[in-house]
Symmetry: C3
């Protein structure tokens, strides 16, 4: 990586749009519905409520298609699959596609299990508007969809050939803000090409041709295929409660109900970073952290959220568009 | 509405019966089983335990019918439907009907989705003992069951023709206690005729011909078809955690294991109001509110619960029984 | 019971092994996967994370068999059964058996429902490595499996013929530490013969011929068929949150990923006792207790856990092996 990565200025338009999204959700309490796993379904709903939205959870196509008439965005998470999901999700995503209904996909555990692979594969025909995942899932999803992922950029290659963490730290990108966890930056970085490829693929079918991919990690990477944002901050305790990623996906859908995919992904990521930092200061373990995190989602100041630590870079420089992905 | 609505005196027999129910549950830890949605199943169980009861959750008819031998009441909530539920609920409710086993229905999202409508419709043959719902669900359920709901009362008509919230507040009922949220009172009021119609319908088939309907809102409306109670109080943060209504339905089933339907509905409603008020004073967001709410369910004084802010009116005056509902 | 029961000395090798297991989990964050009920699935995952492990939850055989390649132990809990579980669990446990994959069974509600009985019965062919249950479930499981459970031992007979709690207390084992709840000791004691019979049955098929049974109660009984350990301590508030037993089963699987079955069961039991005692001192009801309990799982000192109040006795004296169980 290099100096093309720059800190997003406080007065950047993108920060204003994030602040507006955070405020608009609180004012309009939009409904985003979810088809999500049983482990973290409660946290997803509570996080959506704490962010200011409202929640509805369903598994039957007739239920979800009816609710999509009133919900402005949906969230699909492929954890804890049941046998009937393949058919149900096929009907649901076909409807979303026909209706240009925006939705967020969380490809939990992409690559594990033939049923999950079959389901994720089918989404290629009726793609989501936003993908929210960890680095491994993003790489697996790009592979399942058969996307043309360019070999890693020179900068990423440098990092991946470092043979010690200390070296990696020394060679770390000269980003204006030093990330807290170097391994994770490298990890998320290793998915950058896949994330950009997915974002460009999604744009081709998305409503208004806008889409985004958010890769979660100690440093989050968010791209719409043109620009690559990195969010620094947050707290590692987020990995010690189950469902932080799922909740982030659900809240991304909440924002997607009021703004475009890129701003939705950035708003959710920045809100979570801010809230997890606040929770870390007032908790003494994962139980009190989760409680404090929900409180902090509720209480976070919209301007503080928008001013979170964030860099931007052009995806074109590292991943020039040389052919149509589709 | 008018002066026929009166505050329930502190020494009213109904308050004594509520206090007894709250105490009896704590002393006898009755089992109430649940067939409920995946979003809030944990909160339902924890709320039942915190109220003093015990909990068991199942989805298979053989499981539920076996457990009904030892549980004195059950709770059915139609959120997060799965494909096999229609058949399972048919068998379960038919058994409850044959066995005169009392149960609480939570018709979550009544009116949305053809599967849900089919399931709720089938309950007309094997009806619950108590319905616990919000105003929209109560109105939808009365419609699904084809009940004869008289056109709204003059008082309610007045409210519904108000074209601004401010006007509505000015025209609000001269109830002895001013409710905190006027819109919600009107909303719950708009379901009064449906609630009374459902209660009278349920009585015709219920064990001992006793039944109740509880409509949740900022002011709760509870009726057995003869009397209409309104519970004032509680805290608006209850709408910012998922499952407050589901938990109320589950705890109503816990009380139904030890007392009659009207007292069960009132006890659960008064307990939740008391506990949510206590939780509001010791929390700083939805996360700590939920934690404090469970603590408050556990710690609430039975007498304080029974003395909650409550009015009563005769349903006969506004909704005379002019024909048999069935 | 009698003087053959002795306190486990502080420098006993078994305590050192518990301390190592607690530390090893925290250092190596092992993955244990779960097939578990919907009520407490979130708490199971969060408890596994708080103990230091990682979690994955699934229901499809292809998912679980794939994940078993990377998880070193699994947990199966038969609460909230769905219709497809019988077939799925048959495939899953057959795979575990073939692969010698260690797993913990939580036979929730054993004896209730024909589907559950059929599922539990099928596990006789592909048995778990550890059973974690309450006394009634252990007795029911031994019966479902048709195990030869010797009539209760003289010591247990003495206890069971006591006709008052006070008498029972007077006749209680001369254990160095007086248990808090006498009924529960007797209750767990009443399952001792069944627990030993199950442990000996499991050993015959278990990887390395090692297995354990953990009976939860105010005093926990843990046996590998040779020795019987009793864990004193913990807090009664654990029975006022839903899922304490399920979480214990899940964390037992987490330990089973790094140590043998007996040490896994002891480590989980001792950790839970320590954490529940800590939580009791800093909570004011079941809501704050659960939060504090997760914090305490995370913060518990490994040495404090290993030094928990524990007695041991030889199972051979009371239950001599006179025939092969299989």
């Amino acid at each position: 990586m290099d100096e093309r990565i720059h800190t997003v200025p406080d007065d950047a338009r993108i920060r204003q749009r994030v602040m507006n999204a955070v405020s608009t959700v609180r004012e309009s309490t939009p409904l985003a519905q979810s088809f999500t796993n049983f482990v973290t379904i409660n946290l997803v709903a509570n996080a959506q409520l704490a962010a200011g939205g409202t929640a509805a959870m369903s598994y039957l196509p007739d239920d979800i298609i009816d609710t999509a008439q009133v919900a402005r965005a949906s969230y699909i998470n492929v954890g804890t699959l049941l046998p009937f999901y393949a058919d149900a999700l096929d009907q649901i995503t076909a409807y979303f596609h026909t209706a240009s209904h925006p939705w967020v996909l969380d490809p939990v555990a992409a690559g594990i299990g033939s049923t999950r692979t079959r389901i994720l594969s089918s989404f290629r025909e009726n793609p989501p508007t936003v993908v929210r995942a960890n680095a491994s899932e993003v790489i697996a999803l790009a592979s399942i969809w058969g996307l043309d992922v360019p070999s890693t950029t020179p900068a990423a290659d440098d990092a991946s050939t470092d043979d010690s963490e200390a070296d990696t730290a020394d060679d770390a990108p000269a980003a204006p803000t030093k990330p807290a966890g170097v391994e994770a930056v490298d990890d998320v970085d290793s998915s950058q090409a896949a994330a950009i490829a997915i974002a460009r693929f999604l744009r081709a079918t998305a409503p208004n041709h806008r889409a985004a991919v958010a890769v979660s990690g100690p440093v989050d990477l968010i791209t719409d295929g043109d620009q690559v944002f990195r969010l620094f901050g947050g707290d590692a305790m987020m990995t010690k409660i189950t469902g932080a990623g799922c909740a982030l996906g659900g809240v991304t859908a909440t924002y997607l109900a009021v703004c475009d995919p890129l701003v939705a992904a950035l708003s959710a990521g920045l809100l979570f970073n801010r809230a997890s930092e606040a929770a870390a200061t007032s908790s003494s373990g994962p139980g009190s952290f989760q409680t404090a995190f929900l409180d902090a989602l509720w209480n976070a100041d919209a301007r503080d959220v928008a001013m979170g630590n964030m860099t931007a870079a052009s995806a074109q420089q590292t991943h020039p568009v040389v052919e149509t992905v589709l």
